[in-house]
């Protein structure tokens, strides 16, 4: 009797515990609705929608998910959101058009592409000091290697990936990829980078040690963002309303998954079991099972979800 009751308590505790720990959250920038939607991914409901001006586009999160960084290309600032409180902590002015954003592993520095003035900007979050590097024409997506030493930036109109040494804050190398590279993603062990080439309908696979292209995968029309989950590559195709799915090891096609209208930002859950995609035209976030490729759930977002960046973090 006591034993059964104890078991019951343990089960109940585990359920509560798992619910609080496993509830990842998505941070979706809605560019036309001008807000950041914070969505609980277990219940697929919006916990809070934080109004952010200046047509918010890019998003980055600290590892613990406590701070969110949002770029506003038309407002010329970065907004820092306290994710737990669901409110704006501060705004940092930045000239030009801040678009893509990543945060360093320590959460102390931000790297932002200035799409309008062709720069990479580093912001020291402790001192607020900024320095910049000319980075090529129309810099868009960017990604940080897991060791935090190298940054890859897509210079869209140069059809190039620029490698930046972050210790020196200088250009290390560049590589010609497909036409109009936009989204960039690096795998967890820092071996490969994946680049969506919007105008050539391909994804470039880059070996990071040699900094050479090892494959160019054909996808559907206007690929935009890339997520890695369950040993697979997921690419959102804006004009085809689909995700192209490839095996990450063999680099062979697995399937094409139909999603909402005009998919843009795509990101894996922390355990890699799910992939989330923001659909810009239909104002929805879809959850796709990364293994079965079935649509698990959909939820409405504010107008024009863009979610350009790594937008999933552990819930608090």
């Amino acid at each position: 009797m006591i034993r059964q009751a104890l078991c019951g308590v343990i089960v109940l505790f585990c359920l509560l515990f798992s619910n609080t720990i496993l509830a990842d959250e998505a941070f979706i920038t809605a560019q036309n609705g001008q807000s950041l939607d914070i969505i609980d991914l277990t219940s697929m409901t919006t916990r809070v929608s934080v109004p952010i001006a200046g047509k918010p586009a890019g998003v980055a999160l600290t590892k613990d998910g406590r701070r969110v960084f949002v770029t506003s290309p038309e407002g010329r600032f970065i907004t820092i959101v306290d994710s737990k409180a669901g409110r704006i902590e501060k705004q940092i002015p930045m000239n030009g058009g801040p678009l893509g954003v990543v945060v360093s592993g320590t959460g102390e520095r931000l790297y932002v592409t200035d799409f309008y003035d062709d720069r990479l900007v580093e912001i020291d979050l402790n001192t607020q000091k900024q320095r910049s590097l000319p980075i090529g024409s129309k810099p868009a997506g960017l990604a940080l290697t897991p060791d935090g030493k190298t940054l890859l930036v897509a210079a869209r109109d140069d059809n190039q990936i620029i490698f930046v040494d972050l210790q020196q804050f200088s250009r290390l190398d560049q590589l010609i990829v497909g036409r109009h590279p936009y989204g960039v993603t690096i795998d967890a062990d820092g071996r490969r980078a994946y680049v969506a080439n919007v105008e050539s309908n391909t994804v470039s696979v880059i070996d990071l040690s040699s900094r050479k292209m090892i494959a160019e995968l054909p996808v559907e029309s206007h690929p935009y963002g890339i997520a890695l989950a369950s040993g697979r590559i997921f690419i959102s195709n804006q004009h085809s309303e689909s995700l192209s799915v490839f095996d990450a090891k063999a680099l062979t096609p697995v399937a094409t998954v139909k999603v909402g209208d005009y998919p843009e930002g795509v990101c894996a859950s922390l355990d890699g079991a799910n992939v989330y995609v923001a659909n810009w035209f239909s104002n929805e976030l879809w959850a796709i099972d990364a293994v079965t490729l079935k649509v698990r759930a959909k939820t409405a977002t504010s107008d024009g979800p863009r979610a350009f960046g790594l937008f999933v973090a552990p819930g608090l």
Binding site: Q31, N32, K55, A57, P73, E74, G96, G97, L99, F115, Y116, D117, K138, A140, R156, D157, H180, Y182, V198, E199, S221, H222, Y224, Q238, H239, S240, E241, D261, Y262, W280, F281, D303, G304
Partner: protein
Amino acid sequence: MKMRATFFKKLVVAVLLLTLPCAAQAAHGASPLKVVEELKVDAPIEKVWGVIDDFAHPITILSIERIEASGNNTPDQAERRLFLKDGVMIKEVLTKRDEERFMIGVHRKTDNLQLLPAVNYTSLITLRSLDQDHTIIEWKARFYRGYPNNNPPAELNDDVAVAAVKKLIAGELAALKKHIEKPIGQ
């Protein structure tokens, strides 16, 4: 003084018109704009779809002189060149065709700021059946302001682009409604 300002504005627009082909490739820039309009048509969805789905023969408010079309109705292959009365040519491609969802996508490859102060204009047209005799045509558009960089001149800013696209789509929807509801024999 005012005349000079107007002249300067015209000059800016003229220079932009000349240099625009470079910027026109930006299908995925910093701040895309969106317009969504819909209109109820008194016709069954199959009839409306029959009109929407004929990519080579668009019903439009544009004053078209002739059309050259190729690629049938195959997405990413179907292309139409609309030659307007004033010598302007508009090239559009079919980006999407979904028979089950009654949806087509059309992307304009040629930007023309005098015709429309917006660039990279893409439409997604979806039909929704209300009942046997009534259909909603939903027309969603994605585009950028006419000057897609920062500090746009006033006549090429977001508001101007949105207003122009709204007006265009409202006109296109009204033309479709009129065509579809026209009694047989007229």
